[in-house]
Symmetry: D3
């Protein structure tokens, strides 16, 4: 549901329902980008991220799926904080189980990829770590993530685990992970590949993908279709806003949802006109 509209809708309803007691709350509070991200975004990204913060996640899921990408939602990880929304652009890193020969070769060629990815992150980036679901060794921690925050990083998506969890939870950044651990990377894992396709839960993420995360998971949107997805989804949101409005006025669900009946469809057309 469009979050800006939610506020308008709630005001509208409160007038309509005056005298009947407050209507029940049926939508989450609107959320906004943390300043550490918002203030660093490019002008174009401000427009894009503003939409990403408002679009309904499920409407966007439907649009992505209808474009031919049904394997697009990650619900195997857990958010460190609830009540936030993560939006951003994927920057991917792949970890593998440690082995000395490969590790020595890779690490001699440059910094470990958790440092490098934090340092190279662009405003609005989400670091995406594929660690194969490992839960007994971490991929990164609070100090490296501090650098990510300073760079305008928006989030982390970790199919594995992180250390320094309480500090991470306090940061203005959204983090999804399997679980936490106190370990450093080295006992079990090593970073290997940078900006390659990776597997997170049951979804493939590639560099540049657009991500939207809520409490229950993260939607992966190929960047080539993001505009189309947002247009479709926001039109859908508008109808859902109206459907909610009808239900909050006591209408039965038949004729309202999932499809509006003839009479309600006309009302919806008027509703849309009034909003302009």
């Amino acid at each position: 549901m469009l979050f800006v509209m939610k506020c308008l809708l709630l005001l509208a309803i409160s007038g309509v329902l005056r005298g009947q007691g407050a209507p029940p709350v049926v939508t989450a509070l609107p959320v906004k980008l943390p300043p550490s991200v918002a203030e660093r975004l490019s002008p174009d990204d401000r427009v894009l991220f503003d939409k990403l913060m408002r679009v309904g996640l499920e409407a966007a899921w439907a649009a992505v799926t209808s474009e031919g990408f049904p394997q697009c939602f990650i619900n195997e990880l857990h958010p460190l904080n609830t009540g936030r929304r993560m939006v951003g652009r994927a920057r991917t890193i792949r970890y593998l189980p440690n082995r000395k020969d490969l590790r020595d070769k890779t690490y001699s060629q440059g910094p470990q990829l958790n440092y490098r990815s934090a340092e190279e992150a662009q405003p609005g980036d989400v670091l995406v770590f594929d660690a194969g679901g490992e839960t007994h060794s971490t991929v990164s921690g609070a100090i490296t993530t501090t650098r990510l925050v300073m760079r305008g990083g928006s989030g982390m998506l970790v199919d594995g685990c992180m250390r320094d969890v309480p500090d991470l939870a306090a940061m203005p950044i959204s983090i999804y992970l399997r679980c936490g651990h106190a370990s450093s990377v080295s006992p079990i894992l090593m970073s290997l590949d940078y900006q390659v396709p990776v597997r997170i839960g049951s979804v493939t993420v590639i560099p540049g993908d657009i991500l939207i995360g809520e409490d229950h998971g993260v939607l992966v949107i190929p960047s080539s279709i993001v505009d189309k997805v947002l247009d479709k989804a926001m039109a859908h949101d508008e109808q859902e806003e109206f459907q909610r409005y009808l239900l909050l006025h006591g209408e039965p669900i038949y004729g309202v949802y999932p499809e509006l009946n003839e009479a309600n469809r006309k009302k919806f057309e008027e509703f849309k006109k009034q909003k302009k």
Copy 2:
């Protein structure tokens, strides 16, 4: 523990312990039914639900078990919100993995059962969805649940997953589920049976069962024994209230719990008289 008594007890203790620093908090805050439920209940149900909101969950478990129903507690699902108590009456729906022939036949006979069950819900009802633990396809979402709230629905118990999780978490309704997902129902599941016995976690739930849910799970009480269970459990709660009182005054656990010794039993009799 009886929640109303909890308040009295805390007041009482605060007098007794004056001068010694505040006693530690050892009981959860009392919780109450949301207005969207409370205001719609029938007079009989107001009495019943009032007791269900106050009775100790563990005392009720012991009573249900002693009546011959040891498989009565569901701890395989997770509550969307902590610090709430769900009470209500089961209205069951069974989902199965999608197959075209059965789906076409069933859906041609009437609305999908998430819509129907929301529309037909009576005040205080809990929709109980058996989706076999499926975690990659949902059974329902926020708009349908808005209708449930408007009907006075009290909760949802989903052995599967739901979409629109942040909106659901904001609603005045208690929801237990495996996890969330952004998917619609259709890719994997279909609704099939309505008001039949279902399996939720490791417990059978039948239509009309009385449910009490806290953060750690949901107790299933056959409606035929609910009065007996409440009587037994509330008597038990009264003793536990007194046992807590003794412990908060520094008594050792031997002689207090699980059984009162002779001396404490006498004090308990006086305690009960004073309360009247």
Copy 3:
């Protein structure tokens, strides 16, 4: 990170960064021992527990590991409350699946071990229950834990489950467990051994071990090395505090972390002098 320092650091930064907007929050709020524990500790333990409340968990993990104890972190359990820190000394209890002959023999020799361990707990103790990961029968509940609180107990670490979860969550004590259940102990488990080595998740805990728990897990420190671990870890924390300070001023991660470069190492020496 040292929690007292965190406050100083945040003040310092706020001065330095004046005019640039507030720096992002990158550390968790400091936490302190609940009065029910703090007021009962021996003078020696006050000193020890004060350090345990401030030391960085990950720094301590590194120190424990470097002392030859790499299997020292438990992340298989979940905290009942987030945002707390558990510190304490292990008092262990071992549960096994019920069998009548052994149960009768054991229970005839004295009280069940959840009662006994609560009663004998010393200020700052953490009860450690090895129930083999059992999730359908509890090991203890709120009333017994009330006694533990009155004794100055600091926490519970349960490889199994507990009943009365909302009450437990309200108590000034930290609890880690697999999940909750409403059951009593008896249908599936029995307590058997007291103050023996036990397995919690993938770590061996022995009586007297020092425990530090945060949201993501619990570090187990053999008591014989706790002073050495704290010294090492706190020195490490000081450097991390400085590294964070540099990053919050916009320095790139290279040269700052994981190792300070030559220039930054000199600044660190000055930083340490200024703090004295």
Copy 4:
């Protein structure tokens, strides 16, 4: 692959390859229906079951999927014996966790459904037990299954477990299950519904479905499409037989599989003619 053809093919190849050493074995031995089933089948079923015993499982999967039933393969259970093929017609039974009220009511209305389903089984039937994946209580055992064998029963598909496993493994019947246990049904489960749609693994099975099982799982074919599926699949098998023939003669995979190139397609047409 058509099993009868396999034998012909192997003979053919052995001639062609004379002088070069034996070709590697690349197909499983043909299997046949046990006499206890074969001798009791109706004439129509003899024709049907003969095809079901010969058709390639993967070819049939492709045909079922292309008919609009992609959720048709159960690989969550394990066969008691390898090297067998199960074919048959589903007769379904649904178990739920035990509860006294429902059990008393149901069991007073007739025999438990494991007895009834064995007694009523028709030749070629497969008993399909949905026990929700329960692994600590069985649904049936060897004596009841002896009756099933005497009735001409062809197999059992159990999303749960069975007792008397060594005896079952010796019987001329194919059994798929989660695991075995020594328990009777009663401690945890009860039989409830007969000949209703059930969930086995991630597939819905309805009475009358046609089942084909190999070592790695069981294909579920709606009876309404079984003829179409067999025709499609057997045509496909014929091509695969030819593709294997080419590969065994040393041709590279390109041009042979998954699609035949122009030249090989012509050879295939001749191959088909020669077989007639």
Copy 5:
């Protein structure tokens, strides 16, 4: 089912059914103790083990349960070989996750417990290793087990894993385990306690318990009730033998199983007389 009787029964049936084709095989082949065990047993144990090799596992389960021990069957482990029966007397060893201090202390006091238990094993003993389900470090291997075989050891029950699996599978000994691994003990585990109660799967095993294992799991019989259990179970087996006999002659299950009807009960009495 009594294995000796099985042979008689099959002979009997073959006469009765002459002219009708062979009856289906519905019982497993009888199995016997390997000579390495049988030849070393004491005279008393020969009598006992002979019964243990013949008694029906499920009948014995029912008897153990009716004696008040419902948690008596382990089905969480896998046998290395199928088609064997393990019988023996438990000799228990407890492993815990490695920690240097405890390991050094324990190992300085005597040999590791896998060596000691193999060396001290008595004929007919089963080594029972509780390794907490660990699957990435073994508890013992083929050479130590060779010594166990030479001592007359009958089996191993390992809640963890073993190395040298192919060699172990070739030995005349029954082994149940989680899985195999090539690792030695030392990277993750250490042996700690000898001849103490342990947890295997969901069952407590104590030294001296009598164990019967088939392909689907292991029954644990407290030694104090083993005679009673065998008497009860063997009487039950005799009835099941007769019930099978009736079913193999084509009788319907009603009236035969689970309870014999009046007419069949009389036939059973005669059947028992004839056998004497």
Copy 6:
């Protein structure tokens, strides 16, 4: 244990033990390479593979670990056949969850990688498929594997699943996998990377690694250390052969294993001389 020696040892023992009954079998039967592999190997590989077929897997594990590669054993997969030994050289393929954009791009650049890897396989190669543990979509099947067999391929290591399982099980090739399925690749997965480092279970495999598999798992040996590993391991095997010999003659384990005592060490030196 060296397999060739096993035969000698068994002969030797049979002489020594004459008159005492046959010694128990304590070693697995020797296994050999299938002709389809053996006949195609290069002369150098014949020497290497001959050693790989004989070396003790656990001795090799110890050598690999001592060279600094402790994460070298895969026990998360299951062999299709027991009683075989897989040896070979890794040829790796990486699968990811399907997504249309990446799939179209990759598949337009050449054949799918299961075809390509089978076609390009060199004698003795093992195809190593990293499919992230996926169990509902396969990576390849019997026809493609037929080509692999014709190329002299030695095995397949699949962190995912395969179709046509009975045919695969009949082939002269060793296959390890999560489980089987009837599905083709396309519904869920796509092949993406060829000859890159991959994760199989908890081990990183790179192209060219040497693999040894037995029933319980697969050892991964970096090719750079294979000669050193074989030398170390075979020396170790020789000692284990002698230790077994002593135990089979009735010596106690102390003084024999894990270390030979002084007296036995001398006998071992003589034993080695006699063998030459």
